[in-house]
């Protein structure tokens, strides 16, 4: 509990309170204001993880969200979350964290043998080694995944709650540092609706870490507090802390992930969601996303204790921590000296400043000299030592060319190395917005160029470095954005800033290592273990595009998207190719900026709210009578109604028998129903169906096939003519909306001259089918105004009247081949009519049947189901339904395609029946059918089984299939190969029961 590495004073932490936490089971303490990273450093812990490929010990590299190394498994049980950056985890009392990618422990990791073997694991190793034999990959992959991989996902469901928030604003400011705060102030003062989001717990960005910067003659943090107070007081400004603008999408639509209670851990109030996903549509965007310090690439630059220079300053100034006792700074620019001075003033020993430049003469180097710090100009680190923590650096004098060392190297003991290679503008969001990047050669950085959305970049992300420039650009950008959004204003006056001058750095891409490069371990991508040697190898092997090098070496492919590595990698690749950096390309940044939890993305759309559920008006009755349900699209339909002691097979057999011997009753309310009205309604149907509709009499029903223009069957159903200008169309259950959209399309865009109106009435009616030889008697018992006689009410006709005392449309149609009536009543009366039918049907032993029995009954008759027998590649003729296609109509949708060479060729798949040799054997739907079964694939496929059931009426199994040239195969014996056997089948006509169709007319 000692916090041995806490500075005696300073930092934005609350020293009056202590928080206890554990890391890998060891208990430590920190203070409010700490991140897990700063608290670990304050306890002297640098070793926090093992690297992905070589399992090398890794420490905390940065103080921000760009952290590639310190990825932590946070929390326990179902709340555990992998790969969280320790630099972003705010400390709370009782926090439990663990390192990842090590076994059995961080200090002793068996996987580290990979490091010893690393010369054998070069770039592309996995591709090269595990390619052959192909089937071996299954085995290798499992082993590789166990060795590599990062954290673990929880086993159980996420217990937390997540929310969405949709918002509009005039100006969205991404980033709350100097530039972002200035932009928000300027836009907010103009009256614009402003949202400003920053990923950190506190607004202020780097100003929180720079103890030597003054704004208006006061510490910079005072200005931050004043700015935040002013913004918080504006009603038109929304301040979002702990909120990452993670995605920049089209038309200024941005995704923000707000971590509402993550920082509270178990102390979060119950009414708050854990995270909130903001979807913001902004008129104007100001990107103020700052810059990320560039690591230097040198030999063994990855040991714990080696960190970015400005991040070290942050740990000292912002968190009051002392990351080490003996510091070596390695820099190519003056800001490294700023870190050395900050460390010196905090009482940390500065062993050396190593500067790759031949001469360092700016004000900061002069101050360092005046403070008596040892400076090695024109030197570079060529190696480091230390097992679990750096314990010395070796350096040497750079030749004038900068690519080799002159003379012998020498060592300096240390326990801390700060490196600074300059600053990369953080252009991730700009790049996501499709903006083009420009290359600035003098300091080797990519800056925002042409943009394709209403946005502007301000501050460090735009390539400026000083606080004064950041503030000025922020004020200007905020004022311009507000003006563009319609808010006239004046740009705020410039503020006086005092800070040490830190000019941009001349690039220094690769320090020549002491060992040969291949063994020097000059890391570029820390998270994915990619070295300078790997990149050069990729180029030698012929990769030239940076996108290819990236994928081959995996540089920049980690959870950090290579935020600290991309530019260094690009520079090394282009130097190796002898090309300019922009000619080699840039990498494209993609959302999300930092990993975003699935919980936030899913929001409340989980469980029962995942997808709307549609229930029929009779649903309650089914549930009360023990029905098992199945989902058909969004509909929940009664599947079968088991009686006590019955399994599915027995229940379905009983239902199927009853529907052919007595009377069955089916809830068919889910059928799509579209009212087609207007003087041209018949002409319209004539164009969208394959058969003729103009002469259909009022009160008559007709079956129709609907095709796409490609000639393939898209839908089918029965449509009845209610009047001269009124038709009621039915569609398949799952297809109603698609059919409606397609019909509207034709009406509105192809045939606007037709006077026709479409109304979806699916949910307005309950549809009850009574089916079987006793159905007529049952109907007659419940109606006194419809003549149910066979002549008075023939097959394929409609009668309107009352059933069970309520108005009803009754259609005599059949999807089973039996005598059958479809009773349509108002949805609100559906359940009452159903109950009346059940009661009146008792003398006939009326049997409710579900979708499974319905399927068996229709398959016995060979009736197709669109989507089961069809898959978008079946013509009417393929289905044996050429009879449903008019030969005389001049045109209909899809007609022309029925004479395309492909639709008339021989060998198309055709619908047939299959009977298994063993009548008890029920084929699997989807099973392949072949002429001759071979010992193993590949085998020439004839087609597949589309429907397969046990038919209790035929007392054997039946199946429908689509086979190449199927009708010519009728009578032949074919094979269905299964994993454990081969099933012999005989090809038949697809109608198994009552082939003459006499029963429906009885």
């Amino acid at each position: 509990m000692s916090q041995s590495h806490r500075l005696p004073a300073g930092g934005r932490i609350d020293r009056s309170r202590s928080l206890s936490f554990t890391f890998d089971g060891t208990r430590y303490s920190g203070h409010p204001g700490d991140t897990l990273a700063s608290a670990l450093i304050a306890n002297g812990v640098h070793l926090v993880g093992r690297s992905f490929k070589y399992h090398r010990p890794r420490g905390i590299l940065t103080a921000g969200s760009e952290e590639p190394n310190a990825l932590i498994q946070l929390g326990l049980g179902n709340r555990t979350e992998p790969n969280i950056r320790a630099t972003q985890i705010e400390l709370y009392d009782g926090l439990t964290a663990a390192s990842q990618n090590r076994f059995p422990s961080l200090e002793f990791d068996l996987g580290a043998v990979n490091d010893t073997l690393s010369p054998l694991i070069p770039a592309g190793f996995y591709y090269k080694t595990f390619m052959w034999p192909q089937r071996g990959w299954m085995t290798y992959e499992r082993a590789i995944r166990r060795m590599a991989g990062l954290g673990r996902a929880p086993d159980g469901p996420d217990p937390d709650r997540y929310e969405y928030r949709h918002a509009h604003c005039d100006v969205l400011v991404a980033g709350g540092g100097a530039a972002g705060l200035a932009a928000a102030l300027a836009a907010g003062r103009a009256g614009a609706r402003v949202i400003i989001a920053d990923e950190q717990a506190e607004m202020g960005g780097w100003l929180l870490s720079e103890g030597d910067t003054e704004i208006s003659a006061k510490p910079a943090v005072d200005w931050v507090e004043k700015a935040v107070t002013e913004l918080a007081g504006m009603e038109n400004v929304t301040l979002l802390r702990r909120t990452t603008a993670f995605g920049y999408y089209d038309h200024n639509w941005l995704g923000l992930a707000e971590r509402v209670t993550d920082h509270l851990g178990p102390y979060a109030a119950d009414h708050l969601p854990r995270q909130r996903l903001w979807q913001v549509r902004a008129k104007q965007v100001v990107l103020a996303t700052g810059a990320i310090e560039r690591p230097l690439v040198f030999g063994q630059n990855d040991r714990p204790g080696i960190m970015l220079a400005a991040s070290l300053r942050s740990y000292i100034s912002r968190y009051g921590a002392r990351p080490g006792k003996a510091l070596v700074v390695f820099t190519n620019n003056d800001s490294g000296y700023r870190t050395a001075l900050a460390a010196h003033h905090a009482g940390i020993g500065v062993a050396a400043i190593i500067d790759s430049r031949a001469e360092a003469s700016g004000p900061l180097p002069q101050s360092a000299r005046a403070a008596g710090l040892r400076i090695y100009e024109g030197h570079a680190i060529i190696a480091t030592t230390g097992r679990l923590r750096v314990d010395s650096v070796r350096l040497g004098r750079l030749a004038a060319s900068g690519d080799r060392i002159e003379g012998a190297g020498f060592g300096i003991p240390c326990d801390l190395v700060a490196m600074s290679g300059g600053w990369n503008p953080n252009v991730s969001l700009f790049s996501q917005s499709r903006g083009k990047l420009d290359f600035r050669a003098e300091d080797g950085v990519f800056v925002p160029g042409q943009s394709f959305q209403p946005l502007r970049s301000a501050g460090a992300c735009n390539g400026v470095l000083s606080t004064a420039d950041c503030l000025a650009e922020g004020f200007a950008a905020g004022a311009e954005a507000a003006r563009e959004a319609g808010f006239a204003n004046r740009k705020p006056a410039a503020l006086k800033v005092t800070e040490p001058d830190c000019p941009a750095a001349a690039p220094f891409w690769l320090a020549p290592p002491e060992k040969p490069l291949a063994r020097a371990k000059c890391f570029v991508d820390f998270q994915n273990d990619v070295t300078a040697a790997d990149l050069k190898l990729a180029v030698r092997e012929g990769f030239q595009s940076v996108e290819h090098v990236k994928r081959y070496t995996t540089t920049g492919m980690g959870t950090d998207q290579g935020r600290t590595s991309n530019v260094n990698a690009l520079a090394i690749v282009s130097a190796t190719l002898g090309m300019e950096m922009p000619a080699v390309g840039t990498t494209t940044f993609r959302p999300p900026y930092t990993p975003t939890s699935f919980g936030a993305i899913a929001g409340r759309n989980i469980g029962a709210l995942f997808d709307p559920v549609r229930r029929t008006p009779i649903h309650e009755w089914h549930a009360a009578h023990g029905a098992k349900f199945e989902n058909v699209g969004q509909w929940v339909r009664a599947w079968y109604y088991p009686k006590p002691g019955e399994d599915m097979h027995a229940a379905v057999n009983r239902e199927v028998k009853a529907a052919r011997t007595g009377v069955g009753i089916l809830d068919a309310s889910t059928l799509g129903k579209i009212m087609v009205k207007g003087p041209d309604a018949a002409e319209f149907l004539n164009r969208v169906y394959t058969n003729s509709w103009l002469k259909l009499g009022i009160g008559k029903a007709r079956y129709g096939l609907m095709l796409g223009e490609d000639g393939m069957v898209r839908d089918d159903g029965v449509t009845v003519r209610l009047g001269e200008d009124r038709f009621l169309m039915s569609t398949t259950t799952g297809n109603a909306a698609t059919v409606m959209t397609s019909l509207e399309d034709y009406l509105q865009t192809e045939w606007p001259e037709l006077k026709v109106y479409l109304t979806s009435v699916t949910e307005q009616y309950a549809t009850i089918t009574i089916n079987g030889p006793k159905s007529r008697e049952l109907l007659a018992a419940l109606t006194d105004d419809i003549d149910t006689g066979n002549e008075a009410f023939p097959h394929m006709s409609l009668r309107e009247g009352t059933v069970a005392g309520v108005p009803a449309r009754v259609i005599r149609i059949s999807f089973t081949g039996e005598l059958s009536f479809e009773i349509n009543v108002r949805a609100s009366q559906g359940k009452a009519v159903w109950e009346a039918l059940i009661e009146a049907g008792a003398p006939f032993d009326i049997t409710p049947y579900g979708t499974e029995a319905m399927h068996v009954l229709r398959a016995e008759k060979g009736f197709i189901i669109v989507g089961q027998e069809t898959d978008g590649s079946m013509t009417p003729d393929d289905l044996g339904m050429g009879w449903a296609v008019s030969k005389v109509k001049p045109d209909f949708v899809g007609k022309r395609s029925l004479t395309r060479s492909d639709t008339v060729r021989e060998g198309r798949k055709q619908l047939v029946g299959l009977l298994t040799e063993d009548p008890k054997e029920v084929l699997e739907e989807g099973a392949h059918v072949v002429q001759v079964a071979l010992q193993q694939p590949p085998m020439a496929m004839l087609g597949h089984v589309t429907s397969s059931y046990y038919s209790p009426n035929l007392e054997r199994s039946i199946a429908l299939a689509v086979l190449k040239g199927g009708r010519a195969l009728i009578g032949k014996t074919l094979s269905v190969p299964m994993p454990d056997k081969v099933i012999k089948v005989t090809v038949t006509e697809p109608v198994f029961f009552d082939p003459k169709g006499e029963r429906a007319n009885g």
């Binding site: 089209d250 038309h251 394709f452 959209t741 509105q748 606007p752 001049p890 045109d891 007609k895 395309r900």
Partner: protein, 93 residues
Amino acid sequence: MLTIPCPWCGERDVHEFRSGGEAHLKRESRTDNLSDAEWADFLFLRANPKGEHAERWYHVHGCRRWFNAVRNTHTDTILAVYKPGEAKSEVSQ
């Protein structure tokens, strides 16, 4: 995520719409008069420009009406919207 100005309803989120592909493909009223090549052209071949593209949209969760839009496929900017039957507006250049 685009916003699309429906010519009847005004600017709405793309969630409310369904895309209907290339616009101004004229379906002949007697398709049987078309040669295989002409029919194939109508049925299968679509422009896929980088730049201006006239296309159909359906305001399925709104007024349920189809309309046309000219969109720059590179920048996703909607340059014009107009009703079915109206000529493709002269945009940009």
